[in-house]
């Protein structure tokens, strides 16, 4: 397969990853702007910043392939019951786990090595997010030996 074609096919996969980053950013912006967060606020702020960096990285890759970067929607669905710090952390764990499982699938279909490695570097950090979020709840931070088995 020619490089340009591979870049184009990878860009389609990475565009979907950008959409997921938009959704994550909307979730974190919403909870950081609300009053439910307590002791986990600093960690959630760090995670939100990490997602901003992931989105910017993915957008650069897509743009470099000559593909238009998808625009964010005005709003995304939010989990229900975000009434206190623990509820937000549980929702964040779910969101991070869903994101990294999708990222793992992306690694299996991306064609160019640098794209696989780039997405794997993001997946690993999302896995770290889950561990630190679980620690705040007194849960085992690494309950499984393989990400593909699920994290929680």
């Amino acid at each position: 397969m020619r490089l340009a074609q591979a870049q184009k096919e990878d860009a389609a996969v990475l565009s979907a990853a950008i959409e997921r980053e938009y959704e994550a950013a909307f979730f974190y912006r919403s909870v950081l702007g609300g009053s439910a967060l307590g002791p986990s606020a600093a960690l959630v702020q760090t995670i939100a910043s990490d997602h901003d960096a992931h989105r910017a990285f993915l957008a650069d890759v897509v743009s470099d392939a000559g593909i238009a970067v998808p625009a964010a929607k005005e709003t995304y669905p939010l989990p229900l019951g975000l009434r206190d710090d623990a509820a937000v952390v549980r929702a964040a764990i779910d969101a991070e786990e869903a994101g990294l499982q999708a990222g793992l699938r992306d690694v299996s279909v991306l064609i160019l090595p640098q794209h696989r490695e780039g997405v794997a570097a993001i997946v690993a950090v999302q896995a770290q997010h889950v561990s630190l979020l679980r620690l705040t709840q007194g849960l085992d931070p690494v309950p499984r030996a393989f990400l593909a088995d699920g994290l929680s």
């Binding site: 690694v107 770290q128 990400l147």
Partner: protein
């Protein structure tokens, strides 16, 4: 299918011996994938030995000891998965020897040494994810890489360091 199965299936597809060849490993050079898996296995065995060594430290409190034992068990699982994949590919794991671990002085804090080793291992797996020839293998090793990254973050957190120093693993 777990990661062991994925590794097995993917490696089988990439480097299986022919039906008429009983002992392929003694004649055929390892494929690039097999070489990467051998290196990954050696690294998992090495870090397991480092955990064994560090767990002998008398300064570790019981909760931290339990955590470290759990992480050591994960590395055994990872090594087993790589070993099974290599055996199926006709490369018996007995051929693989772990790289030597660093010399440790008694009474030192084990957490920085272990977090550094986990970080190094996660990054090695990350590079392998980019180099393995099939998407299945890349996905499987990325899943192992993510677990090493989690270990590193938790160990840094226990040591009072910044747990996630960068949004990208390769820049941590």
């Amino acid at each position: 299918m777990g990661v062991g199965g994925v590794l097995l299936a993917a490696c089988n597809k990439a480097a299986a011996p022919s039906a008429t060849t009983a002992e392929p490993s003694s004649v055929a050079p390892p494929s690039a994938d097999v070489a990467l898996l051998e290196r990954a296995l050696a690294s998992e065995v090495s870090i397991g030995l480092l955990y064994e060594q560090e767990l002998m430290s008398p300064t570790i409190d019981p909760p931290t000891r339990a955590r470290l034992e759990s992480f050591r068990a994960h590395h055994r699982d990872h090594a087993d998965a790589f070993r099974r994949a290599l055996v199926l590919a006709g490369r018996p794991a007995a051929e693989v020897s772990p790289s030597p671990g660093p010399e440790m002085s008694s009474g030192h804090d084990p957490l920085p040494a272990l977090s550094a080793a986990e970080d190094q291992l996660a990054k090695a797996h990350l590079v392998a994810a980019g180099r393995l020839s099939t998407g299945e293998l890349a996905q499987a090793i990325a899943g192992v890489c993510g677990v090493e990254a989690r270990h590193a973050a938790v160990l840094r957190s226990l040591a009072g360091e910044a747990a996630i120093p960068s949004p990208f693993l390769d820049r941590q």
